[in-house]
């Protein structure tokens, strides 16, 4: 029995909504999802498990239709879906009156339910979110009848407010595979037993690394997973890089360095840069021009101007500069104090009257 396990698609989300690429990303999510659906067909999977948060918000009828159309293109694949915290089932949900394609089973109940597929002797268990949070651990003590069927569990959670389960306890449950969602970083929790599929596309800057789907196979006789691997599918990655500067680094040099880094790692990815080190006090890095060429989420300039405060103090022991340094410099300076020191010294040095 071959299966594909995805989760946290967040259909309908517009990541980085204040950035110019937001719309494009919104489309990427849909494209990659349809890619995953196609993969189910081309890999000849028997099942497609979607472990919650297929939709970013309560799905509208049109969203359901779109998704259902995609499912209808893979009539041979049994699609099993549960709702997560984002697309939890509310009383007014369009889901309640929606008719899915025949190959789709949406497990809507708040309590554990199952669907059984006779042809592949597989019973898929799961329950859906009806509330924002499920703070109690409702997963790791589930009991299912030992009836010779392949048991698969779809679950959604893993943090304190969303079913904080115990991994060890989960391993002793009678499930061949536990398909988890909610945590956006893909991770195989128990070798050949349990995994977070992670978000299909990375959805914000914290979701660096590769994203995609889990593909696995369960032996019909032993009812054990024989292979489980992660297949990257996402269109791009969020990449965070630290760039070190020295007082010799110029703005152009830094821009070229960053451009080089971006080109090495792929111009399509979304980047965050952190500039570290000491810079020439006369230079303020202005990298706005890069933002028009690449997808740059933010450039955090943590570089500090290379003032030699002790030299400056020695030079100005009894005037404003010396006093200013004395007033602000102390062993453990807060960020604001540090910056105030830089601002003040910079202003004083820049506005010096020409000496006679």
């Amino acid at each position: 029995m071959k299966f594909i396990h995805i989760a946290d698609v967040h259909w309908g989300m517009s990541p980085d909504s204040d950035k110019p690429w937001s719309r494009e990303r919104s489309q990427d999510i849909k494209d990659t999802f349809s890619k995953a659906v196609n993969q189910a067909k081309s890999l000849e999977a028997d099942c497609l498990f979607i472990s919650g948060d297929l939709f970013h918000r309560q799905p509208l009828a049109r969203d359901l239709k779109e998704v259902n159309y995609l499912f209808s293109t893979i009539p041979g694949v049994r699609v099993v879906i549960i709702a997560g915290n984002h697309d939890r089932i509310r009383n007014n949900s369009a889901l309640l009156s929606f008719t899915w394609a025949p190959n789709v089973s949406y497990i809507m109940g708040e309590e554990l339910e199952s669907v059984y597929f006779k042809e592949i002797n597989t019973e898929v268990y799961g329950f859906s979110y009806h509330s924002v949070e499920i703070p109690e651990n409702r997963l790791d003590h589930l009991k299912v009848p030992n009836n010779g069927r392949i048991h698969v569990l779809l679950g959604h959670g893993g943090d304190a407010n969303h079913i904080p389960f115990d991994k060890g306890a989960m391993s002793s449950l009678d499930f061949s595979y536990i398909a988890m969602g909610h945590i956006h970083r893909p991770e195989i929790l128990i070798e050949n037993r349990m995994a977070f599929a992670g978000s299909l596309e990375p959805l914000d800057k914290t979701e660096s690394g590769l994203h995609g789907m889990m593909v696995g196979e369960i032996n019909e006789v032993t009812r054990m997973v024989t292979s489980l691997k992660f297949i990257p599918l996402a269109k791009l990655q969020y990449i965070s890089l630290a760039v070190n500067v020295t007082p010799a680094t110029t703005n152009t040099e830094l821009a070229m360095k960053i451009t080089q880094e971006i080109q090495n790692r792929g111009g399509d990815n979304i980047y965050r840069f952190r500039i570290r080190g000491m810079r020439d006090p006369d230079i303020t890095f202005d990298l706005d021009m890069l933002s028009t060429r690449f997808k740059i989420l933010e450039i955090i300039d943590e570089s500090e101007p290379q003032y030699n405060f002790s030299a400056l103090f020695a030079e100005h022991p009894s005037d404003m500069i010396g006093f200013f340094i004395q007033a602000l410099q102390k062993p453990e300076m807060s960020g604001v104090e540090k910056k105030a020191l830089y601002y003040g010294i910079n202003a004083l040095l820049r506005t010096t009257d020409e000496r006679s």
């Binding site: 369009a94 309640l96 007082p247 020439d280 006093f323 004083l348 506005t351 009257d353």
Partner: protein, 620 residues
């Protein structure tokens, strides 16, 4: 500290040049471009070294400006100074790759580690900056009076507020303020408000859509509708069945010319009546005494008629007349009338029987017809009548069955109507539900938009916070600077103004008695009779004030017993002869320090000679 001699080995235009300085006033005379400034800078560089500037500033820094003109490979020199009765030789190589700095105590005959403490002591606590600010004295740069006023005022303000001629607190504060403005312009001030209003809008929409009217019960209602439809169909079928049944019953009744119970009853009653009549008639017909009486009557009448004949024949001879003497005529008439009466009776009886017969016949016919219609048998008998009655009872039952069915039909029809109404209501509810779902979708769409916008705003808010932190850093810098400057003014500025004020009188030869600086850093020179604003004094006086200020600062800043030499670089150009004389005299009289005067005029030397003041002349 005083300078004994210098040896320049590659510095600007000079190579292998020795100059010796003496105690007291040294006048270094040279024409323009002779290299006075080079020597001046050489002294400074020997004392403090040359720090290369970084980057673009390096092109025009001291190092490049005074690189040896001839490429001899040396860029170095020596200076010998006397300090606390020790003679030190300072040797420096400026070249960028082999910078060297060596101090030799010639008195002790050993090299000395040039530590900071040693250098501080040697240089009387002066840093390069304060050296430039104080003892190395030039003239005011500005060419115009107005410019000079501004420059001098700036210097005084700077010294008063920052303790440094060159540090300008006003400009620094303005610079910080413009940075602050720049930062403020990067903020999105309405972001927080928009965010808050977005959040409340989101809350409102969420509250709105959680209202029960938006609950999706379409499926329930659809199921209900399907159920109702099946129910309705069943009932419809039942109703039709009933209608058919009724129709059949009706047909039967109609074919028997019945319409309702009434008709059946009256019909059977009629039949009963006919039967009764028939039976009665039959009974009457069959009544023997009547028949017998009729026959007897007729016989009697006939007998009487015959008797009449006999009597008439016999005439008076008949028995009665004969015997009883009854009148014959009377007798005859009695007989005849008797016969007549009996005839009449007989006839009457006969007619009565005939009438009954007829009655019976008629009733029998009607009955026969009725019976033949309903039983197919014309026999009139109690059995057949009973059969007929049963038949009629059947009809009655049928009739009541029909009317019952009809009632049932009516009931069904009412039920169907009710169901239809309910169905319609259900349809309306589903329609309303669909409509509210549609409304809900619109609201959800809007909600989603709001949420996305809020998420975007969160980044902007974070960015705002970041900028706010920068602004508070700028504010802290500004505040610190302001506080410091007022404390500098309160301490150093006060002493400085006092010291400078004391010097003014000497420098100006008593023309101005003192100088005062008010809170707004306006400067006044005081004569014995009035306060003269700085703007109104001559440029020469301004230079004098400048000198006084620097000398005052130099006195305040230097530490220790020893004093650094004063170095004047073309400082007296603007002085008239009287002023110069007064100034030089005052300098020589007031200060015991070594004084080095760089000049491109000969009048300083001439004036010294003329006034019999000792000095040492160095010509280059």
């Amino acid at each position: 500290m005083k300078i004994l001699d210098i040896y320049i080995n590659g510095f600007g235009k000079f190579h292998g040049r020795n100059l010796t300085f003496h105690d007291g006033i040294n006048i270094v005379y040279g024409k323009n471009e002779a290299g006075k400034s080079t020597i001046h800078t050489f002294i400074r560089s020997m004392l403090f070294g040359i720090e290369r500037q970084r980057g673009r500033a390096s092109r025009n820094d001291l190092y490049s400006r005074f690189e040896p003109w001839e490429n001899s490979g040396t860029y170095e020199g020596q200076i010998r100074v006397e300090h606390k009765e020790h003679i030190y030789r300072i040797e420096r190589t400026f070249q960028k790759n082999k910078k060297e700095f060596k101090v030799v105590d010639e008195t002790a005959g050993k090299e000395i580690e040039p530590t900071k403490t040693f250098l501080d002591d040697l240089l009387c606590g002066l840093s390069e900056t304060s050296y430039i600010n104080t003892i190395s004295i030039g003239q005011l740069k500005s060419a115009t009076d107005e410019g000079m006023v501004t420059e001098l005022k700036n210097y005084i303000a700077n010294l008063n507020t920052t303790g440094n001629l060159a540090l300008n607190i006003t400009k620094a504060a303005a610079c910080l303020k413009s940075q602050r403005k720049e930062l403020e312009s990067q903020m999105v001030p309405e972001a927080a408000r928009t965010y808050t209003s977005l959040l409340s809008e989101i809350r409102n929409i969420e509250k709105e859509i959680s209202a029960p009217e938006y609950e999706n019960q379409i499926q329930t209602y659809q199921k209900l509708r399907v159920d109702m439809k099946t129910d309705l169909e069943e009932r419809q079928a039942e109703k039709e069945e009933l209608i058919k049944k009724v129709a059949r019953g009706r047909q039967v009744l109609t074919s028997n010319q019945f319409t309702d119970h009434e008709s059946i009853n009256s019909y059977s009653q009629k039949a009963q009546e006919h039967y009764d009549d028939y039976m009665e008639a039959q009974a009457a017909c069959n009544r023997k005494p009547k028949k017998f009486a009729s026959v007897i009557s007729l016989i009697l009448a006939t007998l009487l008629l015959c008797g009449t004949g006999v009597i008439y024949y016999m005439g008076e001879s008949n028995y009665f007349s004969a015997y009883y003497g009854v009148d014959l005529i009377l007798l005859l008439s009695v007989f005849v009338s008797g016969a007549l009466i009996f005839y009449l009776i007989g006839l009457l009886l006969f007619l009565r029987i005939r009438h009954h017969m007829k009655d019976m016949e008629m009733s029998g016919k009607v009955l026969e017809e009725i019976l033949s219609r309903h039983l197919g048998d014309t026999d009139i008998s109690p059995e057949s009548i009973q059969a007929f009655k049963n038949r009629m009872a059947e009809f009655t039952r049928l009739c009541s069955a029909v009317s019952k069915s009809e009632a049932a039909i009516n009931q069904k029809a009412a039920q169907i109507e009710e169901l239809n109404k309910k169905l319609e209501g259900c349809g309306v509810t589903i329609e309303t539900q669909q409509k509210s779902q549609w409304e809900l979708e619109k609201k959800l769409d809007h909600l989603s938009g709001c949420k996305t916008q809020a998420e975007g705003l969160k980044h902007i808010l974070a960015e705002n916070d970041r900028i706010r932190e920068e602004i508070s850093a700028v504010d802290l810098a500004l505040e610190t600077m302001t506080n410091l400057s007022s404390s500098i003014r309160d301490s150093f500025g006060l002493y400085l103004n006092k010291a400078a004020s004391d010097l003014i009188s000497g420098i100006t030869g008593g023309i101005y008695t003192s100088m005062s600086v008010d809170e707004n850093l306006n400067i006044f020179l005081n004569t014995k009779t009035k306060l003269v604003p700085l703007e109104q004094v001559s440029s020469g006086t301004m230079d004098q004030v400048y000198l006084a200020l620097r000398l005052a600062a130099a006195t305040l800043i230097q530490s220790g017993e020893e004093r650094m030499p004063f170095i004047f670089d073309d400082s007296f150009v603007l002085y008239d002869d009287d002023r110069l004389k007064t100034g030089l005299k005052w300098l020589a009289g007031t200060y015991t320090n070594q004084i080095i005067i760089f000049t491109c005029h000969q009048r300083e030397a001439q004036m010294m000679t003329a006034n019999l003041m000792p000095y040492h002349l160095i010509e280059i």
